[in-house]
Assembly symmetry: none
Homo-oligomer: 215 residues x 4
């Protein structure tokens, strides 16, 4: 399923190493100027090898984008999986997940932005693979919700579960996308606290005990 970017080089270990260098360079440049404004030469130079060498490890410029997106998704997913960890009783588990997810978005802001802004430039063949990765992340949050449901802490239908998985993921990503504005008012921790509250109890519950909730 994962597209296999062809190489001229055979040494697997070398491929891994060079690719890591290449991806690091590309992420840096894409962050600064975007995929289209970055030239292959710049990527090669930043990665520390010649243009010829770059093309020993990829076949097209688009391959670089694919490798970058693939790598970031994997890293984000891995970190998410590690942070979420289904620990804590009841709703605590969800809170931890949200906090972890925001932290990942905070730590990897540059990468996350690159991924979401440039993935659209992938070819028709690669795009589905990447979109699927996005759904895998949604799935991770569904697992958290499932856990809470099994603990009896939440009561959700299947549809609600899907809805909330997207909902929570988007709200966490929001920190990455809107930090330029939000960071003027909130620290990550404040943001996280507000977000947990908003997700769990909604806006109306803010100190309004007498209001007729969802009558």
């Amino acid at each position: 399923m994962p597209k296999n970017v062809e190489t001229t080089v055979k040494d697997e270990k070398l491929i891994k190493q060079r690719r890591a260098e290449l991806i690091k360079a590309a992420v840096k440049l894409f962050t600064e100027k975007g995929f289209h404004r970055t030239t292959t030469r710049e990527i090669a130079r930043e990665a520390g090898f010649s243009i010829g060498t770059l093309y020993e490890y990829i076949r097209t410029k688009e391959d670089v984008l694919y490798l970058v997106c693939d790598d970031i998704y994997n890293k984000v997913s891995d970190r998410l999986r590690a942070t979420i960890a289904l620990k804590g009783d009841g709703v605590e588990c969800l809170k931890a997940a949200v906090a972890g997810c925001v932290k990942v978005m905070d730590d990897m802001q540059d990468e996350v932005l690159v991924m979401y802004q440039e993935a659209k430039s992938l070819s028709k063949e690669s795009l589905p693979y990447v979109l699927n990765k996005e759904l895998e992340m949604v799935k991770l949050l569904e697992d958290v919700l499932d856990h809470c449901i099994r603990l009896g802490a939440l009561h959700l239908t299947e549809k609600e579960k899907e809805f909330y998985a997207h909902h929570i993921l988007v709200l966490c990503q929001m920190w990455a996308f809107r930090r330029w504005s939000l960071a003027k008012t909130f620290t990550v921790h404040e943001y996280t606290a507000y977000l947990i509250d908003a997700i769990l109890y909604g806006i109306s519950v803010r100190k309004a005990p007498s209001i007729d909730q969802k009558s």
Copy 2:
């Protein structure tokens, strides 16, 4: 503040008309292939005039992007303003706003996507202007919240208000950004209903009366 895209042509009426044609053509093409993959020639052809004429109404390709983003922001803002309208008592007003906002995102999905995906290609000079437009939209939602607060339907601090304005806007945009996945499970109306619930009451309140909320 709004950058003035220079023209060779003087006739104001003509400028308006040609720009409208130009923007329409550009939005169509940007939707299909993105800003960078679209050539100025294509824009001219799609708009129905020659490349020479195109350059009578803009100075650089980036001007087209600026005009497009500006135009879409204005349209989205206008529609939002019209839909929101601060009508309804108490929390109804907020519900109407959310519903209206989602509808706008649904109606203008293509435009919204173009705007958010390509705005990053604007120059350092134009970007702030566009980001500011984004904040104006946030402000619109803050106004709604203010209204609810004044009606006594909500109780929010200034910070909470800012947070929720972003929060709500992002969740509405989510429909535009994730329709490729969400639409498999939800209709716009379902999505809207779930969203209103989620915003107002959060996830934990879903039929779980006995749970000790935020003790």
Copy 3:
């Protein structure tokens, strides 16, 4: 049938003129260094316009080769048609045709060499069209033979006619291909005289009346 090389330019007259310039430049360069060793930039410079302009009149480097081959074939065919003219009684007509054909090969040696040496670099799509042109030239010679046959000067079966048409054409081309060697010993006129004799009467008839011819 003739492939239509696409242009960006619309003015038909201009296309004709520029193409003529382009072809002239290309023939000169291809003659000197061959198709593969000639760069598009060199063609543009030699033709007197910029690389950008060159690409307004063609889409690929191969288009240049196609235009060149097409043009040369047309010129050679036209000259052949003009020279042959089915004039003269009996076998005189054939002699005139051979003489004319050799003259064409002599006058257009460079072009003929380019055409036969580079045509193989045409794409699978264009090649058949060019090969067909070759067959048209064979056809011209078949017409001459037909004429002689109708005059009663020659007696050939259909197969013989086809054979001799190729046979004569190849022998005329021989002057173009082997002038580097033949010209050391023969002038064109000598060559023509020898060739006519060889074609008409063969080698054995050279002053050998007593030999038992093909008994």
Copy 4:
């Protein structure tokens, strides 16, 4: 006279063996895609060794072409020499030579085509050597003609002899060059028969006894 292609390797036997492999691979590839479209890497891979090893046995890509042309010329010459063999009385000897020559062209069509189409890509230094090989082949046919002359079967001046040697060689090559068209109508044997007739007696003698031949 024969250019000495330099090697890093000393072992003569190894050189011979590797070169044979290399030439075989190159002929195959040149036949398929021509010299310029074939890469050195492809040659190495097809020959069964690495690019590094290839360059132990040649110094430039052009060396490969030189080796190929040289090898083919030698093989063709050898086969020609073997087939011709100056056997047969009188004109039979010539007939046998023509038949043999056509057979060689038929058997080695691919090689012959490669040789004549790519030799022009040789450098100014190598070209004369290869052209000289061509003249050696002409010489072989001159020898045949000489033999016939000595037998009294033909009467030719020196100039006529040179002319006919080229003439016959070209007509035999014609089978290789035009088989794409001729083979639709003729088998090799038919072609050979027609050709022998044409060379010996010319076109006019075809059943036209009363015509005043070159009076």
